[in-house]
Structures are given as C-alpha cells and as structure tokens.
C-alpha cells in the first residue's frame, strides 16, 4: 500500500490521498520532500470544491503515462498488460523503455484521452479554476486539459459570445473599435480571397 499525503484546502478541509495521486502536482511533491513531520500540506489558495475536482483528475492519472510521453518512452510498469509481472516480457523490451507497439498501452492511452476530454466538458467557471489550480499546483496534464477546455469554449464563437462566456469587459476605446472593424472585417465575409 502506498504512503498517503494529507492536503488541507483553503477552507480547512482535509484530503488524504496516495502519494502517487498527490505527486501529480510538482509543487506538492517538492513540499512533501521537505521532510514534513506529519505529512500535512496546506494549500491556502485552493478551496475544497476545486481541490476535490483536481484530485479526481489526479487519481485517474496516477498510474498512467503523462500526456506528453511518447509511446516508446512509456515504462513497462505503467503498462496494464505488464502490471506487476516484470520478467517474462519479450526480449525486445527493456525494463525502462516500453515497446511502442504495445496494444494494451495504446488502448489505455486512448481511453485516458477520451476521459480527459469529457472531464473538461464542463462549464467555463470550473475550467477557469482548474486552469488556475493546475498552474498554482503545477500539474502538467491538468494544465494541458484545462487549456484545451478553455480553447473549446472559444472555438466557433463570436467575440460577444466569448465575452459573455469568459465574463470579460469590452474595454476598447472607440478608436480601437474602428481599427478592429477595419482589420477584421473579413471575418464576416465568406468569400475573402
């Protein structure tokens, strides 16, 4: 059984999670390394609602390769097929590099990507907070997906809709508005050259 880490949210709630889950965050990882006596890490800037969502993501990713890992670099330990059994693998597989043709890994990665895409299909409010939390806690994969989620909200929308979604103010001066109109008039023209 893995060691656990205790995290305290900004509003005082405690979350106890396995190391592998918590260490998705590079910040938590480095703080834990600092020989904390009771392994209790305060996170004053994240409240419990967001933290629980973040941990949900981390739990899913705890035993998966990072989103940026190329197939050939996935270690055997993370492959669902080789779970636990190291020896007996084919001669071409070393202990540190996984075969890039492993179908089990392939399917696992694809499934995870699909889960991630669903995870960020939430309202923009939550995306904002996940983005900030991922940035604050330095969780690379969550950052990647939150950014994707935010981009998703922008795609296909006109500026007014984007402003509404992101709660942004139109702070252009009248002169700037004119400039923009000139520069981007082609946006409404389907027949531009």
């Amino acid at each position: 059984m893995g060691k656990t880490i205790k995290l305290i949210s900004g509003d005082g709630e405690m979350f106890e999670v396995e190391e592998a889950v918590a260490f998705q965050s590079n910040i938590i990882k480095s703080l834990a390394d600092e020989d904390n006596a009771d392994d209790c890490i305060p996170l004053p800037r994240v409240d419990s609602q967001i933290l629980s969502k973040v941990l949900e993501f981390c739990r899913k990713h705890a035993n998966s390769p990072s989103v940026h890992t190329k197939f050939a670099a996935i270690p055997s330990e993370l492959c669902p097929k080789h779970d636990g059994s190291a020896a007996g693998a084919s001669s071409s597989e070393s202990s540190s590099a996984h075969s890039e043709t492993c179908r089990a890994c392939y399917d696992a990665v694809m499934k995870l990507v699909q889960w991630d895409l669903e995870f960020v299909k939430v309202d923009l409010d939550l995306i904002h907070h996940l983005l900030k939390a991922a940035n604050y806690l330095d969780i690379e994969d969550l950052m990647f997906m939150a950014v994707e989620g935010a981009a998703n909200a922008i795609r296909g929308n006109n500026p007014e809709e984007i402003r509404k979604l992101f709660d942004l103010e139109n702070d252009f001066t009248p002169e700037e508005e004119k400039e923009i109109l000139k520069e981007y008039s082609w946006l409404d023209d389907p027949f531009e050259p």
């Binding site: 800037r45 399917d107 995870l112 699909q114 907070h129 402003r163």
Partner: protein
Amino acid sequence: MGCCGDDDGDLLDQLVPPESDTHTYFDHNSSPSPSSFAEEVVISPMNSNFAALVSKDLLRAILELLPPQDLARSACVCRLWRAVASEREMREKAFRSPWKVRRVLGDPSSALFWGHSRLDRFAISHRLRRGDTVAGLALRYSVQVMGIKRLNNMMSDHGIHSRERLLIPVVKPELLLNSTCYIEFDEQAKREVAVLYLEGGPDEKTNNLTNRAAFTERGKRKILNSLRRSMQVDVETAEFYLSFSNGDPRAAMMHFSEDLRWERQKREHYIFS
C-alpha cells in the same frame, strides 16, 4: 504545457486602463507561499472572474490551440486578448498548425493572410527547365492542368518559358509536413502565397519519410489499426496523423479532434471549394 513561471506584469499594466479595477492580474510564482501581492485570490467558485485569473502566458497557452479564424475573433474580444492574439508568432502558429509546417517566413501585406490556412494559401515553386510542359508538371505533381493554369493566370499552354517558375497547387498535405514556407507576392498569380520550395530552395526540406523510419512495418500496422479504430477513420488519415505526431498516439488523437472542430467551422462559414 507546464507551469508558467514568468509573467509579464508590466506589459499588462500598459494595456489596462488605470481606473479599471475589474482587471486585477495576479502574478504567479512556482511556490505556493504568499506572493508579493497582498490580495490573494483563493481559487474557488466564489471568485469567478476570468479576467482576474488569466495572465498573458496562460492566455497564450489557450489561444495557441485555436485555428486562424478563432484566433482572429479572439483579437476582437478585449484589449488583453487583442494584444496576445495579434502577436505575429501566435498568428503564424495558428496558420502553420493544421499542416504541421515548421516555419513560415516573411510578412504578408495584411493580417488577412493569416486568417485561414486552407491549402490554396500554399503553393509549390517549380523552377522551369527546358522541356517542361504544363501537362508534364501536372502529372509529376499529381495535380490538374487546369489547376496550374488557373493559379498562374495562364491563357494558353504555351509561353511558359518566358517565366522563371510556375506555382503548383498543393494537393498532398504531406509535402507541407515539417517544411519551411515563404510568404511571397507572386506576380503571375497576382496574390500572396505561402511558397514551398521542394528543390534548390534556400532551406533543406526534411523528407517526411524519415518520420516513419522509426517504425517497423508490422509495428506500424498495429498502431495504425488501433488509432484508426479510436478515431474511426480510414488508414490514410490515421497514417497522416500518426506520421506528424511522431509516433505519439495521444498527440495524434488531439490533433485529429482539433482538426475535426476546425473542419466543422470551415463548413459553417465557408463554401467548400
């Protein structure tokens, strides 16, 4: 993607009107210890203000994922977004990204150029040699004779040798993979084009076949079939996405879903030519 360390807070100050207090951009350090800002915003559903949460670097990370039209629309949202979305590098990235072009050099006469990157924005430069005919070139590049003539504003098949080069339409996107393109105004086509030099150009073009050198034939088949199943496409499409993702299936899938969205918008806003 990773954590954004440095934040250009001073640049932001230039954009934000001094009297505005809705835009408070928080700097972020890598450590969670109290930063230099007195008012620390707790990341909570209660504090819901995207303007307060997003720095220029984060915004760049988001806008980087957008296709050219959406990037252009983002520039019309507010001052901060305009500042980021109008950066040449952002526009170039959006333009390059669907075809995985490595670099685009040169500056177009108007930002309109960056507005979309359909294949007709690109063209191959073919330096004419003795004996070249339009029909022969059409065969060699697997394009239609009409396509070459239209692109170069040719009235007839003859007289091409008064020209130094012909532009050839790009029909095989693999040619753009990892390439360097040059924005030029072509006198014959009478418009700006991102030109690809396949031979004798100033840059060495990487053969896209080297991307596949890593795979054995059998291994490749396995990956392709798995990818094809997940994306529900034909082998050629799966091959294309895999080759430019460098054997990274997750990247292939992300690019594919991004392109699907791009395609959807394309259909909504433009007549497919």
